[in-house]
């Protein structure tokens, strides 16, 4: 045997089970001529077939392609992955291509959610690329292209304990880098899922029930089928049409929908009686009791906070194109979860998942709202009926009614206060979730509960999950306690805070804002407030100034200074965008966003009635981004949203002397005015 005999390679892998990498050499040509490396980056888990897998393709043309199951929805994953790869491979950004979210080619990285790309995918990509680099060095080839051309004879030993580039040696990571291929975004050439076109493609439309829970009792498809070029289908509760244009598809659905009979299902629950409903429909309780908060000495205070149902409302509504060919199904759609959508399609059509391929083109926003594949399944059902590819794009009204919502929250909190310190703490979240439920403050006797409730609207994840509601209630209540104790809200928090990282952002925000001076000033119609918080291991604090309109009582955010720390910063430009995005999205939820519903229908499902932030709402924003090269990088697309609402509510109190305990504040302040 010669040294480069592939059989010898095989033996080597079998002998060295403890090796952290497992290579599968494959010269599949789908990425052009070259060498495909599959590396398992968590050896223990890989043994059970669940390791983090990284795939790299070394092209003979000199490009290196990273294949990842992550997706790009505007959060910056594509740039971050390209940067990590280029850094460790020792090539330029221009030489790296990133293929995302194609279940036919990429490893299953799970869902893109929970800010996991930065702490989990990025290290995997870096390790895989560092391994490739070390293979290159040992191979004696001058470039990856040359190594790929050499016929994939990887000789020598595989790298053990491959070293990642230390921060001081970074050339690409740690500096602002643009999103790869962003030119297509300004020329209109980039194809979002709703822009995909296939030969012979039809456009779809779906018949929706008149209210939640209504069941289709009878439907005559004939009025739709009479129309030229229209395909109509009913399959159980699903009914829809496909036609040469979406205009005709909508007309066809209207034509058949007029005669449809529905079982009526008129729910009496509405956004008006929502919180009473939640209280009356409790389920399982998660209860974490430490010490005896009920017996804590001191003065007891109690408050109740409420957060409305809100919606992500990404600019691109759900969309999918589905195509069947020889029993195989291919779908292009916008989802954070390509493999779970693939599996959902396989279940829906009783297919082997290997016969389903899901492509996720970089899509138009999600914010936690596109974890599912409704449009994909609907498009696939229409395409099956039509025998042609079908594009289904949800309308904005459908998105408002049939996507899922950030669950409403009812939060009850009670504390005991003695000698200016909290002696007992009892916090209960009803309905919205347990994220950031536990207090980051140093507290002796605590009880934290999450009470599941029957949700009248379809609940789902949303940027930072329930931590927005929990942090809003906690930070607003901390302010109430500080006032009761006669202390400055900043000092009161610091006195209860041990976490050095939270202290650091809190002090940084206060310092930049000029908190100590500004909180002492009293200006008519103006107030300042602050808040801090932590979730998913990053920490954030903000100081805000609001202005209250003397006539209408309307609240406006005038200025916000936000300090944020998420470990070592990978892409400062993108981080800034994510933090600003969180602030402005948080502003919408704090101020105006609220899903109104009654009789099983959303009653404000349009941008005219559900008001999202606009240019005119943008306050003066100042960011203090603390870089911690000594800490691992942490995902930053969610946590910065945590502090906007409580800082504003606290500023509202500072301005008016009234507590605002309900989000959105606009609803609260209107009530305060009414009476």
């Amino acid at each position: 045997m010669t040294e480069s005999d592939p059989r010898q390679e095989l033996d080597r892998f079998e002998l060295r089970e403890a090796d952290p990498y497992h290579f599968e050499l494959d010269r599949r040509e789908f990425l052009g001529a070259g060498l495909l490396l599959t590396l398992f980056v968590a050896p223990e888990a890989a043994a059970q077939g669940s390791g983090i897998e990284a795939r790299l393709h070394l092209g003979e043309d000199g490009t290196v392609t990273v294949l990842s199951g992550k997706i790009e929805e505007g959060q910056g994953a594509r740039a971050e992955i390209a940067m990590a790869a280029a850094e460790e491979l020792g090539v330029t950004l221009a030489e790296v291509r990133v293929v995302l979210g194609d279940t036919g080619r990429v490893p299953n990285d799970g869902i893109t959610a929970g800010s996991r790309t930065t702490p989990s995918t990025i290290p995997a990509v870096r390790r895989a690329c560092a391994a490739a680099r070390s293979i290159l060095t040992q191979s004696g080839h001058k470039s990856y292209a040359e190594m790929a051309k050499s016929g994939a004879k990887i000789a020598g030993s595989t790298p053990e304990n491959v070293a990642l580039k230390p921060v001081p040696e970074w050339r690409i990571l740690g500096k602002s880098q643009p999103r790869p291929d962003s030119e297509g975004l300004v020329t209109g050439e980039h194809k979002f899922p709703s822009d995909i076109r296939r030969p012979g493609m039809l456009y779809g439309a779906v018949l929706r029930p008149p209210s939640y829970g209504a069941k289709l009792e009878s439907l005559d498809l004939a009025p739709a089928r009479k129309m030229a070029g229209v395909v109509a289908v009913r399959d159980g509760e699903f009914a829809g049409c496909a036609a040469p244009t979406s205009f005709e598809a909508r007309q066809a659905v209207e034509a058949m929908g007029g005669g449809a009979r529905w079982s009526s299902s008129k729910s009496a629950t509405s956004s008006e009686n929502l919180y009473e409903y939640l209280k009356r429909h409790q389920g399982r309780v998660r209860d974490n009791l430490k010490g005896e908060p009920a017996a804590a000495a001191g003065k007891r205070l109690k408050a109740e906070y409420r957060c409305a149902y809100i919606q992500h409302a990404p600019m691109e509504p759900r969309a999918a194109v589905a195509e069947w060919e020889d029993g195989r199904l291919t779908v292009w759609t916008g989802t954070s979860n390509p493999f779970s959508v693939r599996d959902a399609l396989a279940r829906a059509f009783s297919l082997n998942p290997a016969l389903v391929r899901v492509f996720v083109p970089d899509f138009g926003g999600g914010f936690g709202g596109k974890h599912t594949g409704e449009a994909a399944i609907e498009a696939a059902r229409l395409a099956k009926e039509a025998g042609k590819p079908v594009s289904l794009r949800w309308t904005r009204a459908e998105e408002f009614a049939w996507a899922y919502f950030r669950p409403a929250a009812l939060i009850e909190v009670e504390a005991a206060l003695e000698g200016g310190r909290i002696t007992g703490w009892d916090f209960a979240n009803f309905n919205s979730g347990a994220a950031a439920l536990e207090s980051p403050y140093r507290l002796a006797h605590t009880r934290h509960r999450y009470v599941e409730c029957e949700s009248p609207l379809r609940p789902g994840s949303y940027r930072a999950l329930a931590s927005t509601a929990n942090n809003f209630a906690r930070e607003a209540f901390m302010d109430e306690l500080a006032a009761e104790a006669g202390q400055d809200p900043l000092e009161f928090r610091l006195a209860h805070l041990e976490n050095e990282r939270i202290r650091a952002v809190l002090e940084a925000a206060a310092e930049r804002f000029g908190w100590r001076k500004r909180v002492a000033e009293k200006r008519p119609g103006r107030g300042v407030g602050l808040a801090c918080g932590t979730e998913k291991n990053s920490v954030v604090a903000a100081c805000a100034e609001v202005e209250i309109d003397a006539k209408t009582g309307a609240v406006r955010l005038v200025e916000i200074v936000q300090a944020y720390e998420c470990g070592k910063i990978l892409n400062p430009g993108n981080l800034r965008q994510q933090v600003e995005g969180c602030i402005l999205m948080g502003l919408g939820a704090a101020l105006r966003e609220r899903i109104e519903f009654a009789g099983g229908q959303v009653t404000n499902g349009s941008f005219a009635r559900y008001r999202v932030p606009r240019f005119a709402d943008v306050p003066k924003i100042e960011l203090v981004l603390l870089d911690r090269p000594d800490l691992e990088p942490i995902g930053a697309g969610e946590t910065p949203i945590l502090v906007v609402a409580p800082a504003m509510a606290n500023a509202y109190f500072h301005a008016t002397g009234q507590r605002a305990r309900t989000l959105p504040l606009a609803a609260e302040t209107a009530q305060v005015r009414r009476g």
Binding site: G74, E183, T187, S246, M315, A397, V618
Partner: protein
């Protein structure tokens, strides 16, 4: 069905369509110009902005009949032989997008704004673009990009 004739990005087209069919859908589905986006269909978000005879218009609420005899410019037709326009270059330079779905509409809205007001103040930019929604929301960057675009346009003009 009636036939409507109009120019899109300098090329004449005739389209056979019901009078009330939105121009947005004709552009995207009949003319394969998918750069123009649907965001709401109600004239509220301006993702669907096109220029009709130079004026920014919401193509989702513009029936195709209203385009008859007009010159329509979509994002695909904005850059001419000279390459990307100053607004496009500025958006790229500032990376004034996250998901980028609002970008084509923003770019056209900004181009029209700079046509009317070549040196807008920050206030004028916000006012001028207030009809556009960026849910991501990149408003601060977009304002910076429009300011940069104003400078780039001036340089381009003085080079002529």
């Amino acid at each position: 069905m009636p036939v409507y004739r109009f120019t899109v990005n300098g090329r004449p087209h005739s389209v056979d369509a019901p009078a009330s069919r939105p121009l947005l859908e004709v552009l995207r589905e009949d003319l394969d110009l998918t750069g123009t986006k649907y965001g709401c269909g109600e004239g509220q978000c301006r993702a669907c902005t096109v220029l009709i005879d130079g004026r920014p218009s919401a193509s989702c609420v513009t029936p195709v009949r209203n385009a008859a005899g007009r010159n329509v410019t979509t994002i695909e037709g904005l850059a001419g032989a000279g390459g990307l326009t100053p607004v496009q270059r500025a958006f790229l330079e500032q990376q004034a997008f996250q998901c980028g779905y609002c970008t084509p509409g923003m770019v056209l809205g900004a181009a029209a704004l700079l046509e009317r007001t070549p040196s807008p103040s920050e206030e004028q930019i916000r006012e001028g673009l207030n009809g556009h929604i960026c849910r991501c929301t990149g408003y601060p960057r977009i304002v910076e990009a429009v300011q940069l675009a104003a400078r780039l346009s001036k340089e381009a003009k003085s080079d002529d």
